[in-house]
Structure formats: structure tokens, C-alpha cells
Subunit: 373 residues, 2 copies
């Protein structure tokens, strides 16, 4: 865990430096401290499940929206206002740092990110790297910094979490040129051209690391690295060909002392490798019970997760029972931030999320007073 | 394991009854016996990777092709002739038994199976069940039986494996109405309407079980149940809401005494449940090393797998080293049938598969003579 919440080089007016967020339930839990409030937020809480988001997005492209500081900030704030969750997560897209590094990419409706060209060979990797890179102080990141600043000013004592894709997930998109089910192109490049693959991953790590660092310096109180597609890998391939790059990405933020969360989908076989990449907190997907996840991590790592998003559409009694079970199992970790085990489905009834956040707070209060034992 | 290879009620002229295939390397390995030949076949070996397949399919729909006995048989035979593999796998589609039960479904190019209506509620489940079902002796299965008979007549001593989708994978398609990435609709129905879900799964089990039984009675010497999407489940959900239906599907074939293989993608957390559903052999995807899979299964179960299909496009030396590692790890199981850990990618160079089959046979010969130790 990060030892000191507010050492240099975070600016003096940063919410962790001023103390605005450093004693918040979220930051405390991320640092392994259980408090009176059981914190909760929802991955993809900002976005299509909210009518106020759909209204705002009308006629606007995804990446343009992410790069408009006022819009990105407003969208980030919407679910915090509505649900009373314990954190905002900066509204963005994992391909934003690639776009800012000069890579041609669009988000196509109903498909996802589509790149001008796929990266399938050593020559493609070299061409990509020559196109450009991204550094945390680049002017290209100004709209991100401005969006974060506006958001943090509104959030006050509620922490903002910085958002970034993990290098493997970025590389999987780049290798395929678009979303795919099995990420074959990435694994082909990894095994066919391991040196080029390592260069690609290091580049992705630097680009996404700079993106995360810029958000933290501008006011985010924590950061989360999302590895959506790492579950397509064996433990051995992850350890050898991916973990060093995830560590490199997180290393871009380590000196800031803000807690860092590492989340993957279907990565239950290599949670220890994900922690060892430099994470303070490991996010667990809906497949693995938190007590088992904590056991695999030696019982020493704060966990985040893992309500099955499929249950958001189930009768309330079913969702409530499941949530109680998640909270109960989460007690085996030193601290627990309640979340979903994957993103909010776009067709989710937002009222269910509001009620769910309230339930988690109730359960946490029971826990703090011993009523839930 | 099935105790007796050739007891009733397999017909007297069945290849397991006549002995034509009962001492084949594949059937022996499936029964847990290591012989002089290390058997190998490739999931999805019949299909788009072969130019002779693409030529034959020109202008023909997928499901129509599957239901044409001459075409299905010819397509099944193509990879056996070309690659010298130790088994044919009957060319079909997992939605074929649904179509034969009267469900409206088409395979759309570039998408996959698309159903006339999605099954999202108890009422939808009841309507589906009222539409019809499938029994192993139904005339609707005549084209399948005829296709199998023709194939077996050509294959001689090479066994044919019967092909069927597992109930969860069928239900996941039905609930979504089309392919999806996270199978949310299936898990929603499972948790929201557990009784209706159980009825749906039992119906899928009977339909796919009848499809598998018909293939076995017509001459297939083994059967494989494919659970492509079960990896989207937690172990607890699999055990409670899925495994009973997979057991029910396999039970349709148990009395025949032919070996049964159970394969899932991303199901490393619940291999024992997959075996306990009544499988003689467990198929392992490319993510989990075979020695670890064997350990999880108590070292007593013949395994099938698990070359990473991404490596088919890697330089030969890389693929060869990986294959040697797979064979080495497979020695920890009582017997091993070499296969991929997922289907052949459509753009695979077929010459690589031919060379790979030869390599496996070489490695097996070395093993039998002790040269590989």
C-alpha cells in the first residue's frame, strides 16, 4: 500500500494534500482501513444507464464528449448526485490516451473502438511508436486536466477516481484494430514477435500511465487500471508478457502516493500477479467470491467488487440477498469497497442503483455497530 | 468412465460393436488407456480453414449445409483426409437441434445464430417448450443419422465424434436471441426466474441430448458436449443452475457406453463439476496448463487439449516448443488426446495443422519408445 497519503509531488491544493478526501470512506478503505461507512461506487456508473446522460450525449461522438472538459465533468458528476455513491470515476474512454498520442481511432456505435490500422507485426509496432507518444505534462492532456479540475471542485470531500485502460487491453484493441471476442491477434503477436510485443506493451504502458498521472495530478484521489481483456490469457502468458507492462503503467503514478486499483475481468487465476504489478487494491469480477479472492491474495489486500451486474435486473429480494452475501464475504479482506463485478449494463434501471447504494450504506452501518453480525 | 465399450443398446453393426474403432488410439485414450499412438484432432478442424470446404460451401447457408447428409459427411471427412488426425468430428452447428425442434433460427454471416425471438421470461420459456422438442428417434433427425452413417462408412477404423452444444450455451443464445459478449440475459433469467430457467435448461438438455444420442446410435464412437459460454459463470452458479442440465444432456447417452467428452471455455474453476456431470474425459481450454488441470481433477481423468490456437500463426519453432510442453504436461493425466484449447481460427494455414498432427504423432512415438524422456 502507498505509505503516505499526501507527500510530494502532489500539489498543495490537491484534495489528498488539503485533507478534503484523505479521510473519506473510499480512500480509507483503499488504504486498508475499515471505517464507519462501507464505501460503494459502480463501474460505468456514468453513462448510458442515466437519462440525463443520454440527453446530454445526443448528437455527440463519444471521444469528442470525453475531450470536452465541461461535458466529461458533468457526466462524471451525474451518478454521484443521483446515487449518493462514495466516489466519482472520471468519465472517459480507454482509447482516449491513444487518440491524444496521435493514433487514428473512432468509437463506432454498436461496435466500439475502430482503428485506422491494426498493429500486427514488428513493423506495425515501430510505425505506431513513431506516430507519437503521450507524456503527463503534454498540452494534449489539457482537456483531461481541466475536466478533472472542474469535477474535483464540485465533488468536495467525495473523491474522484482516475480512469485508465491497462496496456494489454489497449494492445488487444490495437492488434485486432477493433473489438474481438478472443483477442487472437494480440496473442499471435505476443508469441510470434515477443520483442515487438514488449515494445508495444511498454508504449501502451507509458501512454496510459501518462493519462492516469495527469488525472491524479489534476485532483483525482485514486486511480484504477482496467484490464478488460486480460482474462483471455493464461497465468503464464500474463506473468511473462503482460504483468511487466501493467507494472510500468502503474509506476507512472506510484510516487504520487494516491491509492491504485487494478481490475481485470476473468483474471481469478492471476490475482497475485495483478497485485504485484504495484496495486494497492485488487478489483474482483463477479465470477470469484470475495472470500476466495482474499484467500488467493493472502488475506492482506483491500478488495473492490463484486455484485453480479446480471442481478441488477432481478427482483429486489434476490439482489439484496446477493449483496448481503458479497458484503459478508468481503469481510475476509482487510477492507472492502463495494462495486459491481463488471460495468453497469446500459439498460439498467438507475433507481435500482440508487437503492443498492443505500443498501450497502445500511449494511456498512450495521457492520460498524455490530448489528449485522 | 464408461465400463463397457460395446454393450447394448448400440446396434450390432456399430463401429464400437464390430470392434472397428474400439481399439483406436482415440477411443483407447478416452477410456484412460495410453497406447503406441498419441491421438490428436482439432476442434473446428472441419470448416473455414480448408479451401475445399470454402469451395463446397459457396452459396449455401450454414444450417442447410449441416442438414444435407452428403455435404455434412464430406465436410466432416475433409480434415481427416488432409491432416491424418485420429478422429472426425461430425460437422454441424450447436443450434441444429433447436432448429429441428421447431425453433426459428438462422446463422447470419459475421454474426452467428440469430433467433426469431429471445427467451427472456417464464412466459417465453413456456412458449418455447410448447413449440416442440426433439427425441433421438424423431424423423427430423434423419438427415443427421444419414450424414453420420455415410461418414462412418468412409472413416473405417477412424472414430467419429458426435457433436452437441451444452444446455447453458444453447440457453445463452436463446436468452440473448443472438451472440453476446457477457451473456447477461441468460444470467438475468437464471437469477430472476430460477424455476423457468431450470425448465429452459432441462428442455435444452433433452433437445441437445437427443441430437447427441442420434449421432452415437448412427455410428459415432464418442460424443463431445461443448459449453462455449459457461466461462461467464461463477463456480456456484454453474454448480447450482447449469451442471444438473449438463448431466441431464449427457445422461441421454450414458447407456450407450461410448466415451463422452465435456469441454468448456474458461471453466478452469469448475472442472470437477464438469466431470461429475457424467463426463469420461474433460476438455481443457488453452488458458490452464494440463498438469494443473489434472491436479484439480485428482489425476484420474483423461484430458483433451490444449494447444493455444493463437500459436498456429506463430513461427513453427514457437508452435513446436509449445506443443512439446502441452504433451509433457499431458503426461500427468491417465491419458491424453491432443487438441487445441479452442477451435481452429478460420484464417489458419491448413498446412500448419497437417504438420502439427504429424508432430504430435512423432512425440507420441518417442513417448511410447521412451525416446522423448
Amino acid at each position: 500500500m502507498s505509505a503516505q497519503p499526501d507527500r510530494a509531488p502532489l500539489p498543495a491544493d490537491h484534495p489528498l494534500s488539503t485533507g478534503a478526501t484523505s479521510t473519506s470512506p473510499l480512500v480509507q478503505a483503499y488504504r486498508g482501513v475499515r471505517g464507519a461507512t462501507l464505501p460503494v461506487w459502480f463501474m460505468r456508473q456514468a453513462g448510458r444507464s442515466l437519462p440525463e446522460y443520454r440527453e446530454l450525449r445526443t448528437g455527440l461522438g463519444m471521444l469528442d464528449t470525453c475531450l470536452d472538459p465541461a461535458l466529461a465533468s458533468e457526466i462524471t458528476l451525474q451518478p454521484v448526485r443521483r446515487h449518493g455513491v462514495d466516489a466519482g470515476i472520471f468519465f472517459s474512454d480507454i482509447v482516449i490516451p491513444l487518440r491524444l498520442a496521435g493514433i487514428g481511432v473512432e468509437i463506432q456505435s454498436g461496435i466500439g473502438p475502430v482503428f485506422d490500422r491494426a498493429v500486427r507485426s514488428a513493423a506495425d509496432v515501430d510505425a505506431l511508436i513513431e506516430t507519437g507518444t503521450l507524456r503527463a505534462d503534454d498540452a494534449a492532456l489539457d482537456p483531461i486536466r481541466e475536466g478533472v479540475r472542474r469535477t474535483v471542485a464540485e465533488l468536495g470531500s467525495t473523491p474522484l477516481i482516475g480512469f485508465a485502460g491497462a496496456p494489454f487491453t489497449l494492445a488487444a484493441y490495437l492488434a485486432e484494430g477493433r473489438p474481438s471476442r478472443d483477442h487472437l491477434a494480440a496473442r499471435r503477436l505476443m508469441h510470434s514477435e515477443p520483442d515487438a510485443w514488449a515494445r508495444l506493451l511498454a508504449w501502451c504502458a507509458d501512454v496510459t500511465g501518462a493519462f492516469l498521472r495527469a488525472q491524479l495530478l489534476a485532483g483525482a484521489s485514486a486511480g484504477q487500471l482496467f484490464d478488460s481483456w486480460a482474462g483471455s490469457l493464461s497465468r503464464a502468458d500474463y506473468a511473462r508478457h503482460v504483468a511487466p507492462a501493467s507494472a510500468r503503467a502503474l509506476a507512472h503514478a506510484h510516487d504520487l502516493g494516491a491509492p491504485l486499483v487494478h481490475f481485470g475481468l476473468g483474471t481469478g487465476e492471476f490475482l497475485t500477479e495483478m497485485r504485484d504489478a504495484g496495486a494497492d487494491v485488487v478489483g474482483i469480477d463477479y465470477r470469484l467470491p470475495l472470500d476466495e479472492a482474499s484467500r488467493r491474495l493472502g488475506g492482506s489486500v483491500p478488495l473492490q467488487g463484486n455484485i453480479d451486474p446480471a442481478l441488477l435486473a432481478a427482483p429486489w429480494a434476490v439482489l439484496e440477498e446477493h449483496t448481503r452475501d458479497v458484503v459478508r464475504r468481503g469481510r475476509s479482506a482487510p477492507a472492502h469497497v463495494v462495486n459491481l463485478g463488471h460495468g453497469v449494463p446500459p439498460d439498467t434501471d438507475p433507481a435500482v442503483l440508487t437503492r443498492l447504494a443505500a443498501l450497502v450504506h445500511e449494511l456498512g452501518a450495521d457492520e460498524a455497530t455490530g448489528a449485522g453480525r
